[in-house]
């Protein structure tokens, strides 16, 4: 008996030349999903350690929560990360709607068009959000 040659996963992936719309949608959906999970835990960790109830300092705007948020907002990198987060979230939502349609069996022939549409819409929303995120004065 001849033994057969095992090609392994790395080689398999490297030889792929043509990804189609559905495959890209799947890859982006996985990627954005993991980014959102990562953000969720960071979000919980940062905010749960920044909660301190002290009415007097809250009144003066110098309590832990306010100073944490304004401290973060004063960093340019955080502003850019916010734009990125919006992009990731918007794509995940729009592609999620697309997948819902696919699961319901609606418009499966135009699944590639709906993927491109969700990409374009994501791009438009992100561009429109740039003034809001980057506009404010860095403290």
């Amino acid at each position: 008996m001849s033994q057969s040659y095992n090609r392994g996963t790395v080689e398999d992936f490297g030889r792929w030349r043509e990804f189609t719309a559905g495959m890209w949608a799947w890859i982006f959906h996985k990627f954005t999903g993991w980014v959102l999970v990562g953000y969720l835990f960071t979000h919980i960790a940062v905010l749960s350690t920044a909660v301190g109830v002290d009415p007097a300092s809250a009144q003066a705007g110098s309590d832990l929560y306010t100073s944490t948020i304004s401290g973060l907002e004063s960093l340019l990198i955080v502003r850019f990360l916010e734009v990125g987060l919006l992009a990731v979230a918007v794509f995940h939502i729009l592609n999620g709607i697309r997948l819902l349609m696919v699961d319901l069996g609606v418009g499966l022939e135009s699944q590639d068009k709906s993927f491109y549409a969700s990409l374009l819409l994501t791009g438009a929303i992100v561009v429109a959000s740039v003034p809001t995120f980057l506009g404010g004065k860095l403290a």
Binding site: S2, S4, V102
Partner: protein, 295 residues
Amino acid sequence: MSTQIEQQETETEADEETEPEVESPGDRRRAQRDERQAQEQAQREVEEETLDDEDTITLKVFRYDPEVEGKQEPRFDDFRVPFHKGMTILDALIYARDHYDSSLTFRHSCRQAVCGSDALFVNGRQRLGCKTQISELDDPIRIEPLPHQEVVKDLVVDMEHFYDQMEAVEPYFDADETPDDKLEEQRQTRENREKVKMSTRCIWCGACMSSCNIAAGDNEYLGPAAINKAYRFAMDEREGENRKQERLRIIEQEHGVWRCQTQFSCTEVCPKDIPLTEHIQELKREAVKNNLKFW
């Protein structure tokens, strides 16, 4: 093709000449082989030189054979093949095999996209060799065996697992009631025929299974072709209720329809244009409906 005739001639000559000597048969065969290879090489060089540069194409073909020393390490061989209008990948491979290297191994049979033997990985995508026009592809054309299946030799992959999956969904009719008259046909409405029409076109080429990277990571996943087969019978109105329930139980298991993550890769590569993802999605809904009970 001409090489074969020459080969016979040299064999008979050599037999007569070397009989009185104490040379072993192995030596003689080796000598003959060397001579033949040299001849073939010379012939190939001549043929390649005479080819006009403008209407030739270059094939880069995956070569591997565990039984031949020197081919155990996978490599790519280049073949320059004359191009003519309407030429398919399979035509080019047949030309390369017949004129250059008779050991080039690939499956083919009907040459008209019916038998499903020659699904190949051409320029980074699963295609049916006999259905793919060379004029549509970029030169050089890279031909490899189907990914995610084990390579037996050159372009031949082991299809056993694929066939097992196809049979796992019990792809046959088991009608509850047949017509009283034995000669009577089991009739189907036109609408129902239209519903299953596309799913009946499967030629078992395995391109979809190879393109699905869920199937690549999960060997137990039935795969698009097998689920399509299940669809073909589950959606047919002539199918008996018991068999339908049994088949639904098979496909709604963990490694059944629910593994599909709607990448649409299978639908893209299917040479018979079967809307595989649509059928898988419909079976998902069917499986849910079958299990939902509100009373």
